[in-house]
């Protein structure tokens, strides 16, 4: 695959991003950049700071130092909803769906960000709001189709099986109309068939919908199979970066995983 520094524009750039919780440095001077259309993997042993990295990018935490830029503009310290509006959406490691809402409503919440109708028009049930709601519902149905959840559109998300919940989270993130999508362990708890399915879905998101994908995953086979470039974190520090083959043979990475078959 193309080497870093290709002709595609830079989407996300972390420069020495650092966050400290009291005495603990959870992420220490991590730098990497994503280009438009990348399928980028973020891996590392447990507690390496991967999810914290996500939380920094999406604004859940404010970086202690360092810079995070999206399409050239600094986003460090912005609130999550603003960052989402700029075009970064995510899924969660410990699924956080809106349990009482149906699958399609979950996706519609994601789409609501691009709803131009005002609250006032919604409260007075003006045609504009009704129309927008119908449009969002249609869009949500389309997204559910992509992740193969059409048949459970009206089921409360709390009642869905685990694998479907994970896919629903992806659809919900897609609905925000994002350009960059962050997937936090999307394959966790899935069986091999479901994982194969997921690989297809993620590829499709990139190829067909031109999104940039950054994902955290534990399953090495899954990551190596899917991602074109990978960053490895250990104890909050970046220890390697490169294409899958290079990562596979990197002694530092092998050491970090303590002999785990990489």
């Amino acid at each position: 695959m193309s080497a870093p520094g290709s002709d595609r524009p830079v989407v996300l750039q972390l420069t020495d991003a650092t966050i400290k919780f009291g005495g603990l440095t959870a992420v220490n001077q991590v730098s990497f950049e994503l280009f438009q259309g990348d399928l980028f993997g973020l891996i590392g042993p447990n507690g390496a700071g991967k999810t914290t990295c996500f939380n920094l990018i999406t604004g859940v935490y404010r970086p202690t130092s360092g810079k995070i830029a999206y399409q050239g503009n600094s986003i460090g310290g912005l609130p999550p909803n603003k960052i989402c509006k700029l075009g970064i959406a995510r899924t969660f490691q410990n699924i956080r769906l809106f349990g009482a809402l149906s699958a399609i409503e979950n996706v519609m919440v994601g789409g609501h960000l691009r709803d131009p109708s005002s609250l006032l028009s919604a409260l007075s049930y003006f045609p504009r709001a009704i129309h927008e709601t119908a449009r969002l519902r249609e869009q949500a149905r389309e997204l559910l189709r992509i992740v193969n959840l059409e048949d459970v559109a009206e089921v409360r998300s709390r009642d869905l099986p685990y694998g479907k919940q994970r896919r629903l989270e992806i659809a919900r993130a897609m609905a925000t109309g994002c350009n960059l999508i962050l997937l936090d362990e999307p394959a966790a708890g899935m069986n091999p068939f479901e994982k194969e399915d997921l690989v297809k879905v993620v590829r499709r998101i990139r190829d067909e919908y031109q999104k940039t994908v950054l994902l955290i995953e534990h399953d090495m086979k899954f990551v190596m199979n899917l991602c074109e470039r990978i960053v490895v974190l250990d104890h909050g520090e970046e220890i390697a970066q490169g294409p899958p083959e290079a990562i596979r043979n990197n002694p530092k990475v092998i050491e970090a995983y303590l002999g785990e078959a990489v």
């Binding site: 999406t58 956080r96 349990g99 009482a100 609501h112 007075s124």
Partner: protein, 396 residues
């Protein structure tokens, strides 16, 4: 929704308001008119609290405070500025409603702001405290009547405005839930972190919920002030807040239908009991014992008896009949105990005891509220009639 339906619902609402006005004001005794008015106000209060509590999930238990702000603001302003020749009273009342709503919304904004930092029970106690502070402030302000009453408020009684407000309040909440905007309110209730990651402006949603909900309560307060012409801080005590909260939870948190029905029932129950004739101590003890038995058996059935609907209904009915028989037998038996038979309890004394007991029993037997999260819809009615043997609860 197309135009005919929209026009039709407007017409139906207008007809309802006109009907209730001409029927009640024309032929009913004064105290019944008042009950209908207060029932309408409680519907507004319950539905508006449901917006804050049930739909947006912000745990507010001081709703009476906004009611009070609206009532005192509009009442005070009206005392000093109302001019019967100036404009028709109903127009003035509408202006006062708007004033009350604005004042209460402002108060809602003030309370809503800390809710951005506080969660759950901490927010609850702040809303409760806000209510108490308002009450104590009023009690110590001579211009507002202090602990006595703010009286001589111009008497403008308009049932159609009260029920019109109730309909507007219901419509606004329902519209919200029918459009995508409502989903972001529900999303905040379900998971703040996730909704903010999905681009929902959590701050705005919470503050909007408080502003809207308290605005309706304020408008209701303005109407109350002009109906009663005299209001005291006790009208808005903590108990009132609790009762409104109870209406919301009992109806089913988040369900507008539930809030409306629970408001009507819970408002009417104590008023009805006020006039029930006195019962003897022996009857009271007998009824208490049979109710306890019924509840204990029912609770077991609800928890452990998972049979088909028909069998369950039979079991419930059997329990009720059985405990009723037990009650009658015990009543006869206890009549022999002289000290019990001689004691007498009036309905007025018993009404809040019965109210509290009903509350506990309903929560024990159906903690998700009567309607749970369901709403009334014509589909639901149609299904009820289409099936040959519909059973209550089959809708869930």
């Amino acid at each position: 929704m197309n135009l005919p339906i929209r026009l039709g619902s407007f017409l139906a609402a207008a007809l309802f308001c006109w009907g209730i006005q001409t029927w009640a004001m024309g032929s009913l005794p004064f105290n019944l008119q008042r009950l209908i008015a207060l029932a309408g106000l409680y519907v507004v209060l319950a539905v508006s609290l449901n917006l804050i509590n049930g739909i947006t999930g912000q745990f507010s238990i001081g709703h009476a405070a906004f009611y009070q702000v609206g009532a005192y603001l509009a009442g005070y302003f009206s005392i000093h500025n109302f001019n019967p020749q100036g404009m028709p009273p109903w127009l003035w009342l509408i202006l006062m409603m708007i004033l009350g709503a604005l004042g209460a919304s402002l108060a809602g904004l003030v309370v809503g702001l800390p809710s951005l930092r506080l969660r759950g029970d901490y927010l609850a106690i702040v809303t409760l405290g806000f209510g108490e502070i308002i009450r104590i402030f009023v009690q110590n302000t001579k211009e507002l009547g202090g602990s006595y009453a703010l009286d001589k408020i111009p008497k403008i009684q308009s049932l159609w405005l009260i029920w019109g407000l109730a309909i507007v309040c219901i419509a606004v909440c329902r519209n919200l839930l029918k459009t995508a905007h409502g989903l972001s309110f529900l999303a905040v209730r379900e998971d703040e972190v996730a909704s903010s990651a999905m681009g929902v402006n959590v701050t705005k949603v919470k503050v909007m919920a408080f502003v809207l909900g308290s605005g309706f309560a304020g408008a209701a307060g303005a109407l109350l002030a002009h109906w009663e012409t005299s209001i005291t801080p006790q009208t808005f005590s903590m108990d009132v807040s609790f009762i409104i909260l109870t209406m919301v939870v009992l109806g089913g948190t988040g369900s507008i239908t539930g809030s409306v029905l629970a408001a009507l029932v819970l408002f009417y129950l104590p008023e009805y009991l006020r006039n029930v004739s006195a019962i003897s101590g022996s009857t009271l003890v007998a009824v208490t014992l049979s109710v306890i038995t019924a509840v204990a058996v029912m609770k077991r059935l609800v928890d452990h008896y998972h049979r088909p609907m028909k069998q369950r209904v039979i079991a419930y009915l059997a329990t009720i009949v059985g405990s009723a028989i037990l009650g009658v037998v015990l009543n006869i038996a206890f009549r022999g105990v002289e000290s019990l038979a001689k004691a007498s309890f009036t309905g007025d004394k018993l009404r809040l005891v019965i109210f509290a007991t009903t509350l506990i029993i309903l929560m024990l037997l159906r903690p998700q509220g009567i309607f749970a999260h369901h709403e009334f819809s014509w589909d639901w009615v149609r299904r009820l009639f289409r099936r040959p043997a519909p059973t209550p609860g089959a809708t869930s």
